[in-house]
Symmetry: none
Subunit: 412 residues, 2 copies
């Protein structure tokens, strides 16, 4: 089945916002064998929407739009829908009650303008929005499926995942496809490709993609066959081959993250952890605690941005700071050991570095970041020479710290 | 002048890659008054390109494509161009010499496949690529301008900025436009619209968009007129009117962020800050330290995920935790006061709440988050009732804490 994704909003057309919705939708549709043939974006204009909806209805069977479903004057998608499909807007009393309840749960009286959100095209199906008041709208007509979703990414994703995907999977015209992701860290893309592709031929109908990100390189396997079972078996067979070649770099599959893998390892081994952070400002703790239930193993952090905090809270020796500086192996080692003592945990990770763009010297350039680890059996530190971009360096350093811990726990 | 941007590549259509080129091009074109009316994306297929180029040539005067200009088999843009414009590919000896020189400067012999890059459509103009071997291609025909750029973002941006922008600025048909962004926080979109639109009529040629995000709602003003000065004046006039109506919600303009605005306030007032975080795990400190130079005012944090850390590091009274719980006004107040004492700062912010999705009760549902503030003159706490999604709740709580501080410093 061919699909067109249409994202709507002046903020997209002027470049204020990078359109991430299109990629998120494309990825999910591709994973169930729907072919995203066209993608387009248009501004907040009823005329532009009409033109674009008509064109899409001519050339594909499935159309998914995002944006323009809010309550304000620049939210015009419903107006275009009723024109294109020649329908009226109908007021839904029950929906208004839901929306009012949502506002009062937040302790705010609903502004009158939000009544608009209970007006919906006649004869449409609605998909509930758990995170906002703009519901998803679905119209089927003349063999076409037209779905409108809100533009706020986390609202869009919730409706897409919980409502639209199960709906689309049940339609005819989708091909059995199996998608499997192996998640690696601590190795660059080209080296990974060298290891994997030595004496390996991909079966027909199997594709392998290398997807690099902050926490490592993901390997995406896409397998198609004439049945779901055979597609799954093909994907699994390649995954096993890759795991046997470079298993130590693979921390998980599919939705596993480095932080969820670490969390599982700590929980399985009944161990606890804390962190001591300088240049990351709290990001390592933030990443560890993205996992709900991380309180089982994560105790706390000290963010020691000022050297006085390193000395007073983490017991870093002032003489060490003076002799080697805050960005040094010695300081990283002492920060980790100090945090482990302070919090009484099994493991402690520390990060101290020059995130940039300011603060670099010839001896210690921007991107030089020391990661430390303390445990009952070791106190080690590693230097990472990262790039010039502050936010990228901070994210990479946080994941490098988690990888150092993973290797230590697994003795890799 | 109306423009269509067409981005090309299978990696875009499957969602492997978020298309950031479209936004980058849109932003630059908008800034010189070119109206980006359509944006579309298609896969690596000559047929899809032909169809899409023909459609674009019908509906706009300027077309910019990215992608598909590399040397490999899936780089098909030139094949589509010669079909659509009925031209031949011509071999450019001088260009081949340039490409060979580029490879030998890297100490590598040019792989033979790269000879393709010296084949270019007859009668086209070329824009040099400083960072790669795929040059930009420009064809003008029947009043249309068709420009093809490589898809690698930093190569695309260099050609666009250095070559295409000066070229487009000299064309007739571009209208002077002024874009101005007011950044608000602490107020919802619909309430903001109610305040702004009461007794306000937008002048002709002026548009106002509401752009919600985690840290608040941005207001984007877009004004056009017959000269740059008059466009700027129109935009500024509306900005002033909005500022007089709801100035207390506006923390900055354009590239200002809530964390940069807070940083400026602290620096201007020669004040320091620290944080005490529970459910955010370090995110508030991470956000404050996204600003290079934040060490001037940010001292450090305690992430007190475990209650023992709240007691030992932040001096929260165990009786308070027992009586009111960790997620309570009393605990938030004591966390802030304790952090301020520990770090010796002027201000301290605390966050303690139920980020979800687990851990909610009837009395304290998921999304209930207390934010505390301690300073020489106040110790306050506010309850925020946020949504159900963990990561969204944590980001919103972090920005709500910054907003509480902004209000306190400015006495709003």
């Amino acid at each position: 089945m061919d699909c067109e994704i249409i994202t709507i909003g002046d903020e997209i057309m002027t470049g204020h916002t990078v359109d991430s919705n299109s990629a998120a939708i494309s990825e999910l549709l591709t994973s169930i064998g729907i072919n995203v043939k066209y993608r387009s974006s248009i501004g907040d204009s009823v005329e532009a929407m009409e033109e674009s909806f008509h064109l899409a209805l001519k050339r594909v069977r499935l159309i998914i739009t995002t944006g323009g479903l809010g309550p304000t004057d620049d939210d015009l998608t419903k107006r275009a829908i009723v024109k294109v499909f020649r329908r009226n807007l109908v007021f839904h009393e029950d929906l208004l009650e839901d929306i009012k309840a949502r506002w009062s749960a937040r302790g705010i009286e609903m502004p009158a303008i939000n009544q608009n959100q209970a007006l919906l095209p006649q004869g449409a199906t609605f998909f509930p929005n758990k995170n906002g008041s703009a519901v998803g709208i679905c119209i089927t007509e003349s063999g076409r499926i037209f779905i409108s979703l809100p533009g706020v990414p986390f609202e869009m994703k919730q409706i897409l995942t919980d409502e639209i995907m199960p709906y689309l999977k049940n339609l005819s015209g989708t091909r059995p496809i199996s998608v499997l992701k192996l998640r690696t860290t601590g190795i660059v893309e080209s080296k990974l490709a060298e290891i994997i592709m030595s004496d390996l031929q991909l079966e027909p109908g199997v594709r392998l993609a290398y997807l690099p990100g902050f926490s490592g390189v993901d390997l995406r396997i896409l397998a198609t066959s004439d049945s779901q079972e055979r597609s799954d078996a093909k994907a699994e067979s390649l995954a096993r081959k890759i795991e046997s070649k470079c298993g130590k770099y693979i921390y998980g599959r599919n939705d596993d993250t480095l932080e969820s893998a670490i969390g599982q390892l700590l929980r399985d081994n009944d161990k606890t952890i804390c962190t001591a952070e300088s240049c990351t400002g709290g990001q390592l703790g933030q990443i560890i605690t993205t996992i709900s239930g991380s309180s089982d193993y994560f105790v706390g952090s000290v963010v020691a941005y000022d050297d006085a905090v390193k000395i007073e809270q983490l017991e870093v020796d002032p003489a060490t700071l003076k002799k080697y500086g805050a960005v040094s192996e010695q300081t990283a080692l002492q920060m980790a050991a100090g945090a482990r003592k302070l919090f009484g945990t099994d493991y402690a990770l520390s990060i101290t570095g020059i995130a940039g763009p300011e603060g670099g010297t010839d001896e210690k350039p921007v991107g030089n970041i020391w990661i430390g680890l303390a445990s009952a059996h070791s106190n080690i530190a590693r230097l990472f020479s990262l790039g010039r971009e502050r936010q990228v360096n901070r994210a990479r350093a946080s994941y490098a710290a988690l990888e150092l811990l993973r290797r230590d726990i697994l003795d890799l």
